[in-house]
Structure formats: C-alpha cells, structure tokens
Symmetry: C2
Subunit: 343 residues, 2 copies
Amino acid sequence: MVSGFKATQPAVAVLALIVLLASFTMPIANPADPSPPDYALVIHGGAGVILRDKLDAETEQAYRTKLLEALETGREILAVGGSSLDAVEAVINLMEDSPLFNAGRGSVFTEAGKNEMDASIMTGHDLNAGAVAGVTTIKNPISAARRVMTHSKHVMLSRDGAEAFAADQGLEIVDPEYFRTERRWESYRKLKAKQESAAETEDTKHGTVGCVALDREGNIAAGTSTGGMTMKKWGRIGDSPVIGAGTYANNLTCGVSATGHGEFFIRNVVAHDISALMEYKGLALVAAADLVVKKKLVSQGATGGIVALDGEGNIAMSFNTPGMYRGFLKSNGEQSVFIFGDE
Amino acid sequence: MVSGFKATQPAVAVLALIVLLASFTMPIANPADPSPPDYALVIHGGAGVILRDKLDAETEQAYRTKLLEALETGREILAVGGSSLDAVEAVINLMEDSPLFNAGRGSVFTEAGKNEMDASIMTGHDLNAGAVAGVTTIKNPISAARRVMTHSKHVMLSRDGAEAFAADQGLEIVDPEYFRTERRWESYRKLKAKQESAAETEDTKHGTVGCVALDREGNIAAGTSTGGMTMKKWGRIGDSPVIGAGTYANNLTCGVSATGHGEFFIRNVVAHDISALMEYKGLALVAAADLVVKKKLVSQGATGGIVALDGEGNIAMSFNTPGMYRGFLKSNGEQSVFIFGDE
C-alpha cells in the first residue's frame, strides 16, 4: 500500500518511495485483490484538453500531489468505517479549497466578472439529494448542498436564497473576493477582451471536481462542485447541480459524478442514464459509462467525462477528452492518480 | 369528433351536444381506431387532493372547459402539420394565461409574497432542451424556455439573467403584479399566518401545467410550466425546470411532463426513468409510467403524476393523488378531459 506503512529500515523506505512514484504512472499500483473491496473512492478534477506539452512539470506535480491528498483524505474516513457521504464532502472540500480546480477557490469568472458556483450531492441508500446553484459567498458549496439535503425539505436552492440558508446553517460565508485567483482572472480578462465564451476556445477545460465513494456499510454517495463555465451569463446553470445529470447515486447500481460541457450532460441525463443502463439493461459499470460517454456524447460532439463506482467497488473513469484529472483507491490497496488520456 | 363539425339540422345538433357532454365523463369519446394516430397530444393542469365534494360545479366546469380549449389549441396546430414543439408551447401558453392553474398568471406565492416561476421544454428528435428558473417578469415562462433552447447555447437560465435574456429575445415582459390572483393571494395569506408550507397542508395540490405532443412527422415534444410550491423560500427550484425530472422527450421512447412533490421527482429522475424503462427494459409506456408513479413514488410517500405519450401515440396519464386535471386527443378522434381519479 502506498500509505499507512512504517519504514523501519532504509531499504524499506527506498522501496516504498519507488512504489509511491510508480503509483503516479502505473494504472494500478498493486495487483487487484479478487474479492470486492470493503470501501472504494474515485475522484475527478475536471476533463478537457489537458496535454503533456501544455502542462509544465511543476504544475503537473502540483495536480498529482493534490489528487493523492484528496484520495488520502477519503481513505482516512472510509478506512475507520466513516460514511461515504462524509468522505465525499471532505474530499470535495479539499478540492474546493485548492486554487488548482474550477470549484470553490479557483472558480472561473462569469461574464460579469463574478464567481458563481454550483454543487450537488446524493446518497444511494435513500436516494436523497441536495444542491445549490449560483452561489457566490459560500466557502464550500458542496457542504451547502449536503445541508440542503439533510436540513431542508428541498433538493435545490439557488442564489441569495441558498446563501441565506447556508448562513442560517452556520456554514462559513466568505467575501466573494476569496474565490478570486489571478490565473482565472487572467483567463477571464483575455476572453472578455475577445468576447468569447470558454466553450469556443481551444483550451477548453471543464474544471469541475467530483467524488464518488463506497463505504464499509455498502452505501454509495456522489458529489460534484464547480465554478461553471468561464464567461457564462444570464444566470446559466450547468449540469453540476442537476441531480441525474451531473450527480447521481443509487445503491442498486452506482454513483456518478460528471464533468464536461454541461448543456449536453443535462440533455442526456448522463449520470442517471449510466445507472439506468445497469439497472434495466444489465450492463456492467464500465460498459454503461463508456456507452454514454464515448458513444452517445461523442455522437453529439459533446466533450467531458465521468467517474463512477458500483456496490462491488468497481471503478469507471470514462472521458472523451485528451485528459481528465482523476484517481481512485480501494481498500485492497489499489490506488492511482492520472491526468492524461494515455496513462 | 367533438369539434370540427357543422350542425345543419337540429337533430344533428342535439346528437353532437350529447357526444360533447358524454366526452366529459367517458374515458374515451369514440372507439379507438386500431392504427396509430397521425398525431396526439396530452395535457395536465396539476395533480393533488382534488375531490368532487370540494369542487363546486361552476369551478369544475371552468376547468373542463379550459382543458378542452387547451386540447383544441393543440389540435389546430397538429392537424395541419404543425410541429409538436409549436403545439406544446401554444397549449402551455393558454394554460399559463389562465388564472385557474399554478403557472404564469395564477401562480402561487413564495414566502416573500412573490410569484417565481419555472418552466422547461424538450424536443425528442434531437434531445435539445431549454429551461428557466425563478423568473418573475416573463409573461410566458414556457416561451422563454423555448428561446433558451433555440436561441442560446445554454439549457438552463435563472432569475434576472433569464429575464434579461427573454427581454433581449423580444418576449413579453410584464409587471410582477400581472401574475397575482386573489385566490392564490388568499391561500398565501392564510398559510403565512400559520407559517406553513403548502406541502404540509391537507389540500395540497400540485398545480403545475404540462403538455406532450406527437406531430405528423413523428416528433415528440414535452413542456412543463409552474409557479412552484406555495410559501417556497431560499430560491427553491423544483422539478419543473429540471430536464429528466419534470420534463423529458426522446423520439426513441416517449415524452413526459410531470406534476407533483418536486423534490421527490428530482431525486427519482422521474421523466427520464420512464423513458429508460421503455428503452432499456422494453416496458410499454403505461407500464413504465405506472411503475414509476404508482410504485416507486408511492413507496417513498411522494405524491403527483405525469402525462406522457410515445411515438405510436399511446397515452399515459398516471397519478397517485385523488385527482389530476388532464386530457388527451388523438388524430383518430379520441378526445377526453378528466379531473377526478374515478373517471
């Protein structure tokens, strides 16, 4: 295992370091244990035109380190019997707090130069769900989505209403300036000068973050958080806060979190479609995910990807873009993070 | 047929009147033509605790007349080869303009005493879709949803952003006062005094309106428009503007418009689930609709209903409440409107 060991001898430490480094590039760090894992977790940090020659070594390393940190955050909760819901929230909180991803701090800017965020969360044992749309002052939108699910009669709250609810619930409220990063502001400034939407530019990257977890109780939870589309206007809502499109969880089938060209993900009800293909057509998780992402979406010219897992701990990380920030772990020791499509 | 005839003799006129009256109570006005209809249309005006002894004769007649008028509006478009999209928009416009339904004029009030409306529309030949959420000044929200679909790159626009877009598109913008009706204001005032949400009151009625149409080209379109839940707060968004939950259309399977306790309809991805049961499990339309509405939703204590039709012009009007304002017509002459569950 990559973590949780103690190096009592230098040789062991060196060996462990080799395993750790190998885990960055090998699809599977350790051979799979044939029995289903007790718990599992899969994450994404956005899909898009992510190419080796466009990503400098330092930035690449920063992403890989943060993805591993996210996995570790989830493992610490799941290993001791914590719930998949807790794991999903904690993992996404970490990614929201990082300026690397288009969610929470580091969100892209709307046409009006604001950071407007969406998030949703769902639990597979009771099909409960919560979502917030167009929020600008909630430090961790995924935590607000969880509170909507557990502490309101509603599923989806929006804008200042969602913010008032989050404040009532004691969640951390921040100045909108908190979400601003120079990198995203630069990107916004350039697009604004050309009056283009990010969807029209070649370096499109759907930077949404997401996490799906299976806990020791066999319960699946899924969550997604995003800053949306650069230069979005008119109060545009993407797929991330839409249950069935950007997020879905059902213990009978799977949990899914999506990232991509949100409009197509809504029209194709992507997350629920993967679940329905499993439940009604008997497809395995990866077959269902690939059919939706690599066939249906591709036939419509829609870019993006999903991460998903089923009740057996099988993992799908399906995308039709050059790259997707992603990673997974299982209780049997398998763990890896990836960025590019060819690794 | 109920309409389109000319009574040239008194006897014919009397006969026609009998047929007209019979159409109010008989499930099917004319025996079914075994060949699939060239076009078909189905509507709802909300489901809920709608009981004979609570509805006075005059009000009942007003609903039946308006439902027949809605059907006739759709027939005029579909009969001459108009598109299912045009039919859906025109029919819903008529119902939005009527104060009888909780959509457009006649919408219920939010906790803050405002009318905030949601709508969505989808076309089954290209899986295109549009939606608006939380709009307060657009006279016909379903027309704004159509414009989002056809004249923007987005699927879902919200609040003032959606209103600015609608205004840009030349849609009719009205003073929020336009949507106010004394009946809904009275209902709001009473609930406000008790600080109860409509979901908690016994006379709960989900007054959303919806329409699904099949045109002569074989194309299906579906739309839904609503004033939401009385006393809603925190910018609550229900299922009506959520593609896959309140509205879905796919030429391969069916079109669906839902009305009910929106939170459960989102969590169950109701409209897409009915389509998926047909596409992946091979269920017929009515079986798929009944499974979702009368089994899955009932098992969760969720109230509401759906109207749907498939590419063969088969009709489903499935609900688990005492009543649902509803009606359908087919090109073969079948036409009927209903209110209560036992008719």
